[in-house]
Symmetry: none
Subunit: 401 residues, 2 copies
Amino acid sequence: MLSLEQLREITRQSESKIVLLVIDGLGGLPKLDTGKTELETARTPNLDKLATKGICGLTEPVSPGITPGSAPGHLALFGYDPTKFEVGRGILEALGIDFDLKKGDVAARGNFCTIDNKGLITDRRAGRISTEENAKLCNKLSRIKLDGAQLFVTPVKEHRFLLVFRGEGLSGDASDSDPQQVGVAPLSIVGYSAKGRKTAKLANEFSAKAKAVLADSHPANMVLLRGFSQHPNLPTMNEIFKLNPAAIAAYPMYRGLAKLVGMKVLNTGPTTAEEFDTLVKHYAEHDFFFIHVKKTDSTGEDGDFDAKVQALEEIDRLLPKITDLNPDVLIVTGDHSTPALLKGHSWHPVPIVLYSRWCRADKAQKFGETACASGGLGRFPAVEVMPLAMANALKLTKFGA
Amino acid sequence: MLSLEQLREITRQSESKIVLLVIDGLGGLPKLDTGKTELETARTPNLDKLATKGICGLTEPVSPGITPGSAPGHLALFGYDPTKFEVGRGILEALGIDFDLKKGDVAARGNFCTIDNKGLITDRRAGRISTEENAKLCNKLSRIKLDGAQLFVTPVKEHRFLLVFRGEGLSGDASDSDPQQVGVAPLSIVGYSAKGRKTAKLANEFSAKAKAVLADSHPANMVLLRGFSQHPNLPTMNEIFKLNPAAIAAYPMYRGLAKLVGMKVLNTGPTTAEEFDTLVKHYAEHDFFFIHVKKTDSTGEDGDFDAKVQALEEIDRLLPKITDLNPDVLIVTGDHSTPALLKGHSWHPVPIVLYSRWCRADKAQKFGETACASGGLGRFPAVEVMPLAMANALKLTKFGA
């Protein structure tokens, strides 16, 4: 694998266009009665046609056995080694709601939660309160004053909010107060460095004051904080790949991930059809498009095999909106697997199909886990998808003399 | 590949159990007349059933083309990158006989050998003298006095003994006296650093005195030393994987390797049946078991194709002792290949089958080199076996936000 610095030296700008369709949680596991995964169960004639024309394989988002979060899964697909570039949960949350982060800001993901009269957590999500209620409570919490830093408390969705500290000498080097379980009290936050300890002190002070402010707001009568982090300052895709990249994603977090690597985020409606229409509308303006479809992951997380199958069939039905544009390189893959049988992200490698005029097609004629396992791309690290995309778009020059 | 530090952060303790059956030297090469390897020739209905239910592939113990010794082959399977963690032969020998190594000790593997009256080696193993004779000679050698270090000479088996220097400022940074061939004299040992030179000086002094002590002990009239080394202080499997691991191995070296990564070594009888019975007996007490079967490697080293086939058939016959326990994850693989046709370890990748409820089975229906080459795991580094095992045992949490 070339370093980003080595890659940068061989990339070149050109007219050709790359479309990367990321079907979140694409990979699955076979149902016992049929022996077929969600993708293998779905009727996907357009994806199968692409598999027939293209070259298939399985990507390892991080490495064998490792279940990736959304950030590592996407960073890998964007060409960034996820074991080297780590993105904190707080930063993701901030990017996803367009929070205007300044240099040095520390962000954390906040959850409203419920505690009982002994202070023990009974619900880590406060019964998923409404986003409106969340906004009211965030408004109250915003009035908290801390010694040594400015404070921003911004609602995200349901029980989730963003906490940002703005001050001198802070870092994300601090633990979580969220114990990730019920029946225990929120944890005291500790810092792992001088700057981290300053963050921890602010965070513990904030938690104590929030508890007082929220005392009468049952079920949202406490906060849990996690993922203290600062902007990772990644080199942009433009710097490395000389692309003018755009992102089409209905969900905030994925827009945030795209911004992290310098993509322009396009306004889009929330449905897959609207996302694909957004691509059509802006197709002339960019040479790289990342399109993110979320529903496959959410249905997988819900353990709803059939709903995931339907979501896949919907994508397939809409695929001609993309293929009719004849992008020079079209890649369809996922950021990780989310088998309905496991009701969550998993470590299983992810189907991928790449089509370009120069792809050296393999024998795969069906887009599915089994067919992809015998595909011409084999099983390979997701971080190598971008170099492959760039090569197939004839945007890479020779490496070495 | 995650670092051990990154892995440690996502491992969690749970009730599920992992059994790793290592068939030493498992991989082979096809006989010209049948086109089948030892494993493909053997009648292995139970392994084939496992291949049908599970997912198959080929592991690269170190990397393509590299023939591993026993230590790298096993360290990789235990999750330790064998190119980063090197274990000297002397240390292995010491661990295998339960020698109580102290911090700073330098250990070497010793062979009694035969030299002629010109001092040239005629037999590197002194006709494989009896272990009793070995013990008597070690007793004599133990009385040698050296300037600047204590000396321990301990019999191992047949012609093999362990030499340990205990003193200040020593290291394993020294060459071997064993030239690995006959017809030449034992080599003078050189050190590659100040501490290594101190070791070399002691070792050369020991060799000279041993030659005098053994003058009348033909065929064991000289010693050869190799693998000067110190304890590598590896992080334990408990620290990294939060496992309570146990090892079942009839041969000392493999018990030594297991101890090196913190496994508890279980007492076992020497046959494969007894080893498997030991697993059954202790199954409740641990969540990870490494079982080592040696015979496939020894028969391969002897170049005895048919005997290796028989050893494989014996393992297959006994396999239900393991499968009847229904471990959550069962992995059968080898530490390297030992093709009978090559009469030694080889670089060829090693068949692996992994079964768990979540393995995403492939189409392989036979446990053999050819079937595994088309398996769903593909060809992958052996160091990734442990993350895969942990994932399939649902003992890993998500990596990254």
